[in-house]
């Protein structure tokens, strides 16, 4: 169901995948009962404090695949003066086990969650309101992400680092074919045809032909969205036409399929099996190493009435309302993810390849200041859309993902499929806003 299925996979889940954490159900269950990292000295009144009276904070991260990340976050935690912060590094199915642990007293005080807390966590009073932590820095954070983590006028998480997906192309292959990087969807379809030769396909959108990733960008291309506020955003004439484009690419046989390494790895592009590939910002160092400067980057093109787009995601730092000392936990989050800009920059660029969530930091990172990476950073600010809206619940996401698969892979009628989806999404909207 996926979810997105995995339902709602956040962009940076690939880091879990990088470690081979596929199907780690057992690990997620095992993670439920283990050490919370809170230390053993919780005082009887429930306020977590050590003998010295310092607050104890348990902070959870999912297992990042990049070497050095764990040491880095432990270093940040050790640098924090006012409280003792214990970092827990959670392998396996992090989102599931964290969501489950919030129901118990053995959960974290501070934790990261893909694209901020879920609507059910917010409405279930499981996470604390973090609006006041931002002060006048709120405008400096990537706007699409702040919007994604805001509900009821309050901000519920602080975005840590930003990941995005973009369309990467081989300059040389486009030049040989005499093609400009496509600005419009029609040009993209045409370019994919032109670029498809014997053993090269024009476009790689993932092994499902883009069903999982490009439904949203197609809506945005048509000037639509998943939701329009608290209403369905795709119940309009342009939507079926937009989604049908992905089916056209499929039946044209211009999309590459069946790759051992899916879209989150640049192998299809760098090995020359595809001329253009939809992939993540994190692949840029690998692409540059393999292709030098023989690659460029564009956002997903637009159709008439819409605009180009890139999906944007970030783990958001949240505070559990079951934290032993909510105030101390909030102070720590403000310190680390809002005030300590040098640590944020270090976390974003020193181990993997991500954007700092404060836009003012982007020019300060050497690796982001020029070339395709700088282009991508600009697209995030200008064309960034949160992957999916907050009110887009797992059930809606599953139904959407099923629909996209049927349209793209089975050739189902987009209009009929969309008509069937509307009541499902409306019921979910009513549930979460009612």
């Amino acid at each position: 169901m996926a979810r997105p299925h995995r339902p709602l996979p956040s962009l940076s889940r690939r880091r879990v995948l990088a470690l081979g954490g596929v199907g780690a159900l057992g690990a997620s269950l095992a993670a439920c009962g283990d050490n919370t990292g809170r230390g053993g000295s919780t005082s009887p009144d429930g306020a977590g404090s050590s003998a010295a009276g310092r607050p104890q904070i348990a902070q959870w991260y999912h297992q990042y695949g990049e070497a050095g990340t764990q040491e880095a976050v432990e270093r940040y935690a050790a640098d924090y003066g006012p409280a003792d912060v214990t970092v827990s590094w959670k392998p396996g199915d992090y989102d599931q086990s964290t969501a489950a642990s919030l129901l118990t007293d053995s959960g974290p005080d501070v934790f990261e969650y893909g694209n901020g807390p879920t609507i059910d966590m917010i409405r279930g009073d499981q996470v604390a309101d973090l609006t006041d932590l931002f002060g006048d820095t709120l405008d400096d954070f990537t706007p699409s992400l702040v919007e994604r983590m805001t509900y009821d006028g309050k901000v519920w998480a602080v975005p840590q680092v930003v990941d995005t997906q973009v369309l990467v192309y081989r300059r040389s292959l486009l030049e040989q074919a005499g093609i400009e990087p496509p600005q419009q969807i029609s040009e993209l379809v045409e370019a994919a045809r032109e670029l498809t030769r014997d053993d090269v396909k024009g476009l790689f959108l993932g092994n499902d032909g883009g069903a999982g990733l490009l439904g949203g960008p197609m809506l945005w291309a048509a000037g639509l969205d998943y939701l329009d506020g608290e209403r369905v955003g795709f119940d309009s004439a342009g939507a079926p036409e937009a989604l049908a484009v992905l089916r056209t690419l499929w039946t044209d046989e211009t999309v590459l399929l069946g790759q051992a390494k899916d879209w989150f790895d640049p192998d299809a592009l760098t090995s020359g099996r595809a001329a253009m590939q939809w992939t993540g910002l994190w692949t840029f160092p690998m692409i540059a190493e393999a292709l030098g400067d023989d690659f460029g980057v564009i956002p997903w093109p637009a159709m008439e009435g819409g605009s180009p787009s890139v999906p944007v995601g970030a783990y958001g730092s949240c505070v559990s309302t079951r934290a032993s000392d909510v105030q101390a936990a909030q102070d720590f989050v403000r310190w680390l993810w809002i005030e300590q800009t040098d640590k944020q920059l270090d976390f974003a660029t020193a181990y993997g390849f991500h954007l700092p969530s404060r836009t003012s930091l982007v020019p300060e990172a050497d690796v982001l200041s020029s070339g395709p990476a700088a282009d991508a950073a600009g697209y995030v600010t200008d064309h960034g859309h949160a992957q999916t809206p907050l009110l887009w619940t797992p059930q809606s996401a599953t139904a959407w993902s099923d629909m996209m698969n049927r349209i793209v892979r089975d050739g189902a009628d987009p209009q009929a499929e969309l008509d069937a989806l509307v009541p499902i999404v409306e019921a979910e909207l009513e549930r979460v806003t009612g």
Binding site: L8, V22, L25, A99, G212
Partner: protein
């Protein structure tokens, strides 16, 4: 004196009974019956993000799940899947058992070879099937073979028409399971008294007749057990399906076992324990009904 002793022996016996059985019984109650009961309880409540719900909704969760097209599809798919995989696995494991039992050379070797896959993890086998045998690349084993015949590479798991993914899943499942049921049949075969075969041979029975009138009736109790286990296994399918078909963007809407769907509903970021529990109860009832019907229809093992 005698009665006192006997009383003590009885007490001792019951003490030791509980020492040995108690921990397992406690585990059974705590980890099996309590969760089942709790799940039934949850299925009558709205339970998003909580296992101690307060809002009683009656049968609404059951209505939700039964009107949920995706869930109904997964149930239907798996009735069809069971109808195919149960007889196939049954026939193949019986066949291998008969062949292995007959063979005179390297019997131990053949037994081990067919049984070995049982020792392999479903997850590992699924990944081998997905990434090396049925990889969509031209270097995948299946595609390399086809390449020799001049067929261009097939993206086995990407395309749905024709549904090659069933070939991948079914072959993985057969490879993993046949050996286990073969062992069950082998054990049953070895319990068939040799005297029956000798008597039949004297009466002139051979080949198919021997199987039809001696081996098969003698295997009936084992067959019942195998059929039931196969059936439950088919409905409980999860590991190899999940690891072969689930991708980064989730599990596609085809060949989706009910358990995978429920996993996403209840344990995924959905955390919808009410609907999830209702689905689990429906699935349990379905398995029980089909198993009962099967036993009745086939009248297997009834007189054992």
């Amino acid at each position: 004196m005698l009665t006192r002793l006997r009383g003590r022996t009885n007490r001792d016996a019951s003490l030791w009974f509980w020492v040995f059985v108690g921990p397992f019984f406690a585990g059974l109650v705590l980890f099996i019956y309590v969760p089942i009961g709790w799940s039934v309880y949850l299925s009558f409540f709205e339970a998003y993000n909580t296992v101690t719900p307060t809002e009683f909704v009656g049968l609404a969760n059951y209505r939700d799940m039964l009107t949920d097209q995706a869930f109904r599809d997964s149930l239907l798919t798996f009735v069809v899947f069971a109808a195919f995989i149960v007889p196939t696995t049954f026939a193949l494991s019986l066949l291998t058992a008969l062949l292995v039992a007959r063979t005179r050379v390297m019997q131990a070797f053949f037994r081990s070879v067919f049984f070995l896959p049982v020792a392999c993890s479903y997850v590992v086998a699924a990944l081998v099937w997905k990434m090396s045998i049925f990889s969509g690349m031209s270097s995948g084993a299946a595609n390399a073979l086809l390449g020799l015949a001049g067929v261009s590479p097939i993206p086995w798991l990407s395309i749905t028409d024709p549904p090659w993914y069933w070939l991948v899943i079914v072959s993985a499942r057969l490879w993993l399971q046949v050996g286990f049921y073969m062992i069950l049949f082998l054990a049953a075969l070895q319990r068939v008294p040799v005297t029956l075969y000798e008597a039949a041979a004297i009466d002139g029975a051979e080949g198919w007749q021997v199987f039809r009138h001696i081996t098969w009736p003698q295997l009936l109790p084992a067959s019942t057990a195998v059929l039931l286990l196969l059936l439950i296994n088919a409905f409980q399918a999860f590991d190899e399906f999940y690891n072969i078909l689930a991708g980064f963007s989730g599990y596609p809407p085809y060949a989706r076992p009910p358990l995978v769907y429920l996993y996403y509903t209840a344990l995924g970021s959905g955390q919808n324990f009410g609907d999830g529990s209702a689905g689990a109860v429906i699935l349990t009832v379905l398995i029980a009904v089909v198993a009962l019907a099967q036993t009745r229809l086939l009248r297997l093992g009834g007189r054992d």
